[in-house]
């Protein structure tokens, strides 16, 4: 364990001053230098100097990849998975007895019941709102966390917290940590992929998936859901593939000739192989996300044939294909820039209208993703996490909407051999604050890393003289999840 991170730390901590010789020495130790990169294959394994080389976890992992489903704007727990009869009983009365009522917009309104009906589902008898008729069929495979709380009622800061553990900008995201810790099983595709909503990215933008103080190699690569998945993946149409290949061939020859003058410099060798990797990615990335190659039945299952569900169905199907090909961490955003109250889950204006519409967009795709992962035997090795950036208020905004509430939210996890059908933690009778077993975001992150075989207290990155951690000095495993 002592040497667990040492080689890579060495490569990056020494930054620009890295001597090629030292690197060559290390690579030779591993018998890597001089081996020609495999050509063509889309499941290429790591060769040569490579920040994505797969690395052994601290202990046997429960899952090897993650799909994060981020419901941007803040999905209401009270109208989805955390029913509160007290809201019916005390409807129209002020919220009292729970301390200061902190709202984001204007002044507090009175308590407001959910406009939706809840029904019991599965063997576990889990209450799910009527807006998720299909997701509710999977409750026996899902673990619900009803007491997750955050630190900010501001979208951006809350989204940063869910992604990086802190409300500030510029810290490495959980996907970066996972990639840094575990590398990738597939060297022809990026290790950490983000696919955001067709309406635009989430609030807070690229800082949500940045590598912060780590090398840029660990930030997410954005995959577009239409056209070439990666910006600059392919040359413009006027450059033919043969032309591109000729350029690459000449480049390789000239670089190889030059390398003879610098035999000890593996940085230069690494650059040469990075071009081969890029070339492979050009072929492999479009194939990896080619949802048209899926069977008609699968496409239908996800809802590719319905224009309401098609955009998120495409994202979910891409995610499954990527995970299937060994991509480590895929994060999907539902809800994106545009008009905040309309295009995200940010239901200030009308929670019924907003959540009905957004649930309809994700219900079938998410249900299909779970079905499909299971059918392919991938669910056991994939951790699926669903959440927004905060919950919403039990009190109304103007009789119809709900304001932000970081006091508690409900999220669920599935896959990774997690015991399904369980409810963990509880919010108070109004759903204003986490009450039983409050779960901080650091706890969530610690648990996610644990499921991937990583000890959150040991995954560190030296920065500014301190061994930084995703969970800072905090983080408790959620016992019911890791059991």
């Amino acid at each position: 364990m002592a040497n667990f991170w040492s080689r890579r730390d060495f490569l990056f901590q020494s930054g620009g001053g890295m001597s090629g010789l030292a690197l060559a020495y290390l690579l030779n130790q591993e018998g890597l230098l001089g081996a020609a990169p495999e050509g063509g294959a889309c499941d290429a394994k790591a060769v040569g100097y490579n920040p994505y080389a797969p690395r052994k976890p601290h202990f046997a992992p429960r899952a090897t990849s993650v799909i994060s489903l981020f419901m941007s704007g803040g999905v209401s727990h009270l109208d989805t998975f955390d029913p509160k009869p007290a809201l019916q009983k005390y409807a129209g009365q002020p919220l009292s007895g729970k301390g200061e009522v902190v709202v984001r917009q204007g002044n507090p309104g009175p308590l407001m019941p959910s406009p939706f009906q809840f029904r019991k589902h599965g063997q576990c008898g889990m209450d799910v709102s009527e807006i998720f008729p299909l997701i509710s069929q999977h409750v026996d495979e899902m673990a619900f966390l009803r007491s997750v709380y955050g630190k900010s009622n501001d979208h951006v800061q809350a989204t940063y917290e869910l992604n990086t553990g802190k409300i500030q900008m510029g810290l490495p995201s959980v996907g970066s940590w996972v990639t840094y810790g575990l590398g990738s099983e597939n060297q022809s595709l990026p290790a950490f992929v983000v696919i955001y909503d067709h309406r635009g990215g989430p609030l807070g933008g690229p800082s949500n998936w940045s590598a912060g103080y780590m090398p840029a190699a660990y930030q997410a690569t954005i995959f577009r859901s239409a056209g070439d998945p990666i910006i600059d993946l392919k040359p413009p149409a006027e450059v033919s593939p043969e032309q591109q290949r000729d350029r690459l061939d000449l480049l390789a020859k000239l670089n190889q000739m030059d390398l003879k003058n610098y035999p000890g410099s593996s940085e230069l060798a690494a650059r040469i192989s990075s071009y081969e990797l890029a070339y492979r990615m050009q072929g492999c990335a479009p194939e990896a996300v080619d949802v048209n190659s899926e069977s008609e039945a699968t496409r239908k299952l996800y809802g590719m044939d319905d224009k309401t569900t098609e955009p998120f169905a495409r994202q979910c199907l891409m995610a499954r294909r990527l995970v299937e090909r060994g991509v480590r961490f895929v994060q999907l955003y539902h809800g994106g820039l545009g008009q905040q109250n309309r295009d995200t889950w940010d239901a200030h204006d009308d929670v019924k209208e907003n959540h009905t519409r957004h649930a309809a967009e994700v219900d079938r795709p998410i249900s299909a993703l779970l079905t499909d992962l299971k059918a392919r035997g991938l669910l056991d090795t994939t951790l699926v996490v669903w959440h927004g950036e905060f919950g919403r208020m039990p009190i109304s905004q103007k009789g119809v909407g709900r304001d932000h509430n970081p006091g508690t939210m409900t999220m669920w996890m599935a896959g990774a051999k997690i015991k399904g059908g369980q409810i963990i933690g509880a919010s108070d009778e109004f759903g204003y604050k986490a009450e039983q077993q409050p779960i901080a975001v650091h706890d969530l992150h610690a648990t996610m890393l644990h499921l991937l075989g990583v000890d959150h207290t040991k995954l560190t990155y030296l920065f500014n003289g301190r061994n930084m951690r995703l969970t800072d000095v905090y983080g408790e495993l959620i016992p019911q999840i890791v059991a």
Binding site: Q93, G170, M214, D232, R247, A278, R466
Partner: protein, 882 residues
């Protein structure tokens, strides 16, 4: 990394709540005493209120409005506004009237007393305001608990102080070496190499050196003509002349200024959700470039950035320089509702000064004493006190007369417009309420019902519901226009016309710099989005006077405190300004007020301490940075951390010798370049191979050959445009917005990326590209642009396929390749051998070798010249300095 910052929203509010609960409890007890007609006790009932809510502005540290509430005499005497207390007459006492909100501004400014507290003050004054306690003339707080005292004090052991970096550098004796070496740097290096049994590389060839010097000092490759000139100069001083020429180039500042801008975490936008534009930030960027070009002594450079407003000679440039302090990422929304934000900004300043100037992680001591270095938490809060007076403001870059004339004219116009606006509001009012009524109809029945019920009859829930809707329903001017009678509409239009005419007389805004000076942050004007939420924060309108000190007398900074665990709600002692004790020698002043008395002089004292020869770290850290950029690695590899967790110096004597030399040469950075670049070490070959050396020192820690370095992100782009001939070398001014694909623009929150076509207008040097915190320029990001939110001394260097994809497929790169091809085609007039030769000379400063020329000729049989130039821009040789 601020440990545990910024506190947790949840825990902080709960702390606050707990404190409030305690108060309520305390008052429940005392109120019952009051009800029984018992005497109110100053000590038990009043003093706690004064202590927590009044004395911070009317106590020992400051007496706003000259009011001191520490003694009965002083309270009876009162301040600028007259007596605060008239014993026996609460209703006539200003103190009561202000805390009860009967008179404005309601006190305290940062919150409201509870009803219980207000009523007990009333009773106390009515009972004659007896001051039964021992009078509080010293202004000291009650004795701190032993625990607090223990927290606040940390003894630094003599051993801790003996750590090498905390000792002042002394000029090390010149080592004796067997070779004849004139440059002292080489003698230190040779000594270390000899000790390790290492042999140095020979001198690199002239072209390699020429390119090394150009890329290193100005970040641009030499043109073929410049290369020819240099090769033609066979004099022994050719190298020295070249260095002098490059140091005199204005592009030197663009290259080395950029290094400092990384440290200064400079950006053109705020960051966070709104990521507002900072329209004048570029003036600071240009200042930095100018400062490097002028070779302003490094300690003066620091002083201007930290205290440019407090210096004996204040210039426009020194004012602009203070932009350094405010280059932190800023939320820029509801700042007044969230006083804790300011502590984050202060932390960022302390962090930047600590790591960037001192090479110490001072900000690790925010919540507790530093875990590894002898830095006390108190040091942190003393440094915070040194900076605590800071406020952000705009500074007109104009003469005093111009500025006054501008202010006068603006005030005059505002004065004329105000009554016209008032008139319009009067006309609109009846329509406004009628139209609002209409709007209520779109709400659900329960909301309409609540609104219909008369205010006094609403249940608490109905009151909330109705209040929410009534307060937030707005009627626009256009909606009113549509409902107005033609006569009134005409009247309104007439008034608006008058306003427009007045507006057109407004003088053109003066250019301004975004600066920092001292003032009172509690009264600063609201920025965009800062309007406090109803019932929260401090409204600008109710504050009096200015947040900037206008005299008479001397400015006093607002008090700042030791914060337990870094929590702004958990105050310890009042803090005096001060520095990091373990590296403070002698007894330097902690305040050095300028003659005009407008600022405290605390920042000036801080700058003097930093830039003093007595400071053991400033010079070391500076020369180490310069060294690192020249040699690819610092003598201390961790440029920002000279503490225990940092790397040890590879050549401690050399580092100290350089630091002393730097100070004795007047902190001249250019002289350090000259000194380092004229060493043999700088001129060594990077190709050199030696099995013995490689085995003994595989990391090349002891510099037995030169280290190759990948070009920085900005220089990759600049070098491509230099090769294509498209680069516009215009210096300075507002930033440019090179093209970013729409898909990427959609990933960020709000658009302040001006959508410009890729073209000559934006083909400026990369230091002038807009720095948006929320959206790093993609091409730079891919080549390891550091995070733009924190100070960065040394960039990561990674090699990833996305870099290859960018250089292979990005439209900008392809376009530059094409322009490059056109350029050589035209110059070589179709002679294909000459074309290749010229392309090589432009891109790589050398002619092609025979085998390369042959490959090129074969390639050009089949492919275009633009295909070929594109390959050149992708070569390792193009992307590395070596």
């Amino acid at each position: 990394m601020p440990v545990g910052a910024p506190g947790s929203f949840a825990s902080r509010t709960s702390l606050k709540r707990r404190a409030k609960l305690l108060f309520v409890w305390a008052f429940a007890a005392s109120a019952s005493i009051g009800a029984a007609q018992q005497t109110v006790s100053f000590t038990t009932d009043i003093r706690p209120v004064f202590e927590s809510s009044c004395w911070k502005c009317h106590g020992g540290a400051i007496q706003l409005s000259k009011l001191d509430l520490r003694t009965r005499d002083a309270a009876l005497k009162g301040g600028d506004k007259g007596a605060a207390i008239i014993p026996g007459k609460a209703e006539e006492s200003r103190l009561y009237r202000l805390v009860a909100g009967i008179e404005k501004p309601a006190m305290p400014l940062d919150g409201k007393l509870t009803a219980g507290q207000i009523s007990i003050i009333k009773d106390w004054i009515n009972q004659g305001a007896p001051w039964d306690a021992i009078s509080e003339t010293t202004g000291s707080r009650p004795p701190a608990s032993a625990q607090l005292a223990a927290l606040e004090e940390m003894r630094i052991s003599p051993e801790a102080r003996s750590y090498w970096a905390f000792q002042k550098p002394v000029r090390s004796p010149m080592p004796v070496v067997s070779r004849d070496l004139t440059n002292p740097i080489d003698r230190f290096l040779e000594k270390a190499r000899t000790d390790k049994g290492l042999k140095p590389a020979p001198r690199a060839d002239r072209i390699t050196l020429l390119r090394r010097a150009y890329m290193d000092l100005i970040g641009l490759p030499p043109t073929p003509a410049e290369t020819a000139d240099y090769l033609a100069d066979r004099s022994p001083q050719a190298w020295e002349h070249l260095i002098d020429k490059l140091l005199a180039s204005p592009h030197y500042g663009e290259r080395w200024g950029r290094h400092w801008l990384d440290v200064a975490r400079y950006a053109d936008s705020n960051g966070f959700e709104h990521d507002y534009d900072r329209p004048d930030a570029w003036r600071y960027r240009d200042y930095v470039i100018r400062a490097f070009n002028k070779d302003i002594p490094y300690n003066t450079f620091l002083a201007e950035q930290i205290a440019g407003d407090e210096l004996d000679r204040v210039t426009d440039d020194s004012m602009i320089a203070t932009g350094f302090l405010r280059s932190y990422a800023k939320v820029g929304y509801r700042e007044k509702d969230n006083p804790q934000f300011r502590y984050e900004y202060l932390d960022d300043m302390i962090g930047t000064l600590g790591r960037g100037v001192l090479g110490l992680t001072v900000n690790c001591a925010r919540c507790h004493n530093h875990k590894f270095d002898p830095i006390a938490q108190k040091d942190y809060y003393q440094m915070q006190a040194s900076l605590f007076g800071y406020v952000e403001t705009d500074y007109p870059l104009a003469s005093k007369e111009q500025a006054e004339a501008y202010a006068q004219k603006t005030a005059e116009i505002d004065g004329k417009i105000a009554p016209l606006r008032q008139k319009i509001r009067q006309i609109e009012e009846p329509y406004r309420s009628r139209l609002a009524q209409e709007k209520y109809k779109k709400y659900p029945a329960n909301v309409q019902r609540a609104i219909a019920i008369p205010e006094e009859k609403r249940t608490p829930g109905e009151a909330l519901l109705a209040g929410q809707v009534i307060r937030t329903t707005s009627v626009s001017s256009d909606e009113i226009d549509r409902a107005m009678s033609p006569e009134e509409l005409a009247q309104k239009k007439g008034l608006n016309e008058q306003i427009r005419t007045l507006q057109s007389e407004r003088p053109k805004p003066l250019p301004t710099a975004a600066i920092v000076t001292d003032g009172d942050y509690r009264f600063t004007p609201d920025g965009a989005g800062d309007e406090p939420a109803p019932g929260k924060g401090v409204k600008q309108e109710i504050t009096e006077g200015s947040f900037l000190f206008k005299g008479p007398g001397r400015y006093q900074p607002p008090p700042s405190y030791f914060l337990i665990r870094g929590d702004p709600e958990s105050r310890g002692s009042l803090m005096k300004p001060g520095f990091v004790s373990v590296i403070t020698y002698g007894n330097p002043p902690v305040e050095d007020p300028p003659a005009n008395g407008r600022t405290s002089g605390r920042r000036r004292a801080l700058a003097e301490w930093l830039g003093s020869q007595e400071n053991p770290l400033t010079a070391r850290v500076a020369v180490n940075r310069i060294w690192s950029h020249h040699f690819g690695q610092g003598i201390v590899a961790t440029l920002d951390n000279f503490g225990k967790m940092g790397e040890k110096p590879t050549h401690p004597e050399l580092l100290d010798w350089l630091a002393v030399e730097f100070m004795s040469r007047g902190w001249s950075i250019k002289q350090m370049h000259r000194l380092m670049m004229t060493s043999e070490a700088y001129q060594m070959s990077s190709q050199y191979q030696d099995a013995g050396d490689a085995e003994r020192d595989p990391d090349n820690q002891y510099l037995w050959r030169y280290r190759i370095q990948r070009l920085d992100a900005e220089i990759v782009r600049d070098a491509m445009m230099a090769a294509s001939g498209a680069l516009d070398l215009t210096m300075g001014g507002p930033p440019v917005f090179p093209h970013i694909p729409g898909e990427i623009l959609r990933s960020m929150s709000e658009g302040i990326w001006r959508r410009e076509e890729d073209g000559p207008r934006v083909w400026r040097r990369s230091v002038y590209v807009y720095r948006k915190r929320g959206l790093p320029f993609p091409m730079f990001e891919v080549f390891d642009l550091p995070d733009q939110n924190t100070s960065c001394g040394r960039r990561n260097v990674s090699t990833v396929p996305t870099q290859a994809l960018t250089l292979l497929n990005d439209e900008f790169v392809l376009r530059q390749s094409k322009l490059f091809a056109d350029r050589v085609k035209e110059a070589a007039a179709g002679d294909s051998a000459k074309v290749v030769d010229l392309a090589y000379r432009i891109a790589l400063s050398r002619p092609p070798r025979e085998d390369e020329a042959k490959l090129a000729a074969e390639f050009l049989q089949k492919r275009s010249l633009a295909d070929f130039t594109h390959v050149l821009l992708n070569l390792n040789e193009f992307l590395y300095v070596r």
